[in-house]
């Protein structure tokens, strides 16, 4: 095993498979643990794993706790299905599955009877990832989370925050009033807020 803190490149031998298991940023190639990214070698003692902490930017994979921007694809009473488009603060494509769901209890801190009252197809939503992997789950319970852009269900114009408190949003074109679970910065176009 090489010394912890050593700078390694892809292909550099860091340990043997007898010494450590391959962790993040490493791989077991025929019994040799090699670094797979450029970075700093570390030993995760808890799991006896070799790890390389990357110095480079890395492919964007969704992790629990990430703030994401997504588009609403389908709304049911108990579930909102969305397409994740962007991870806040990242400027690379998202790798892997981008289909995610917001279960109704995770829409807001307050009780929500039906998701259909809070989201419509085509809404752009800021959410946090609560579960990654094969079934991505998101939550919009929080002040900065929720719809950041949406369109009038009557005439498709961009909705604005309502001037009086009769509803959350109003349509500047047809005057229709609409309900959504909106984020504090609705309409400001903040992609990388967290």
């Amino acid at each position: 095993m090489i010394e912890e803190g050593t700078l390694v490149f892809p292909g550099d031998k860091v340990a043997t498979a007898e010494e450590l298991l391959p962790g993040a940023g490493t791989a077991d190639v025929n019994g040799t643990i090699v670094g797979t990214v450029m970075g700093t070698f570390m030993v995760n003692k808890k799991n006896s794993q070799a790890e390389v902490t990357p110095l480079t930017s890395t492919p964007v994979v969704l992790h629990p706790g990430d703030t994401v921007i997504c588009e609403v694809k389908h709304v049911m009473d108990k579930l909102v299905l969305v397409d994740v488009l962007h991870v806040a603060g990242k400027h690379r494509h998202i790798t892997g599955d981008k289909d995610a769901a917001i279960p109704v209890p995770d829409i807001a801190k307050a009780y929500v009877t039906s998701a259909k009252d809070k989201f419509k197809i085509g809404d752009m939503v800021r959410a946090t990832v609560t579960q990654a992997g094969a079934n991505i789950r998101l939550s919009t319970a929080g002040k900065n989370l929720g719809v950041i852009k949406s369109y009038c269900t009557q005439c498709r114009a961009e909705l604005e925050v309502a001037r009086d408190k009769k509803a959350e949003l109003e349509c500047p074109r047809c005057g229709s009033l609409e309900e959504r679970h909106i984020a504090a910065d609705y309409g400001e176009g903040n992609l990388d807020w967290k």
């Binding site: 488009l85 494509h93 852009k149 176009g189 992609l191």
Partner: protein, 255 residues
């Protein structure tokens, strides 16, 4: 499908406060750098950066027949390649209409300003002339390709030698080039007009306007693009801005 609608909200909000995403004033150009003679195999070449946008223009020359309507003039051909290296939005394959428009606008500015003395490129009238190929490669796309490509093409022409040696026609000599046009591009979004658009600004632009001015400040080529519109006053104001800016850019070009 995309997040450009969110970016648009952000740029509109800044525009209302008279601000641009990178902090520039509306009539402020990004820093320009020009590196000449970067390609050995080319007759002339130049790598131009405007901010983070980088393009490389190369000149190749060959012998060919003149166009029937200009039997005593050399020929000029300009092509731009939006290669996928420069942006995740560019695709490989034959040039799409964006690349064709770009090349034609660059070509027009150079042609109409008489930058290349095409008469001097005639070898036998009606039979044999030099054909000048300007090929522009986009390497890093951060907005304003029109000005970057125009500048790179001009700088590459100024760097070019007629390859007489390769064709066993005597010694190489400089390509007869003088006073290239200076191109200035503006985009409009949410009622604001900015010069030298960055990528974010290009993405939300509703209308685009390019004007090429010569050494005397006269207009040599224009192109209005995209589905939005300009008022007559906006065009006049943009021309005035371009004329103010052109001498500074010309100095960098003629380095």
């Amino acid at each position: 499908m995309n997040i450009s609608s969110i970016k648009k909200d952000y740029l509109y909000r800044l525009a209302k406060q008279g601000k641009r995403p990178d902090g520039r004033a509306t009539s402020e150009y990004r820093p320009i750098t020009i590196e000449r003679g970067v390609v050995n195999m080319a007759e002339g070449s130049a790598m131009v950066s405007i901010g983070n946008t980088t393009v490389l223009a190369g000149i190749k020359m060959d012998l060919g027949e003149p166009y029937p309507d200009t039997p005593n003039k050399g020929a000029l051909s300009t092509a731009a390649e939006l290669i996928p290296l420069a942006s995740p939005d560019f695709e490989s394959g034959p040039p799409r209409e964006n690349a064709i428009e770009l090349a034609r606008v660059v070509d027009r500015g150079i042609r109409e300003s008489g930058t290349i003395n095409l008469e001097e490129l005639c070898i036998e009238p009606g039979e044999k002339v030099w054909v000048v190929f300007i090929d522009i490669h986009i390497l890093d796309y951060d907005g304003n390709l029109f000005d970057a490509c125009s500048l790179a093409a001009s700088a590459a022409l100024l760097d070019a030698q007629i390859p007489n040696e390769r064709f066993e026609m005597g010694e190489n000599r400089p390509l007869p080039v003088q006073d290239p046009p200076i191109s200035c591009t503006f985009v409009k979004y949410n009622g604001t007009i900015v010069v030298d658009p960055s990528l974010e600004e290009d993405e939300v632009a509703e209308a685009r306007y390019t004007v090429a001015v010569d050494k005397n400040g006269d207009i040599r080529a224009m192109q209005k693009g995209l589905s939005g519109s300009f008022t007559v006053d906006e065009i006049r104001q943009s021309i005035a801005t371009a004329r103010q800016m052109a001498p500074t850019i010309r100095k960098i070009l003629e380095g």
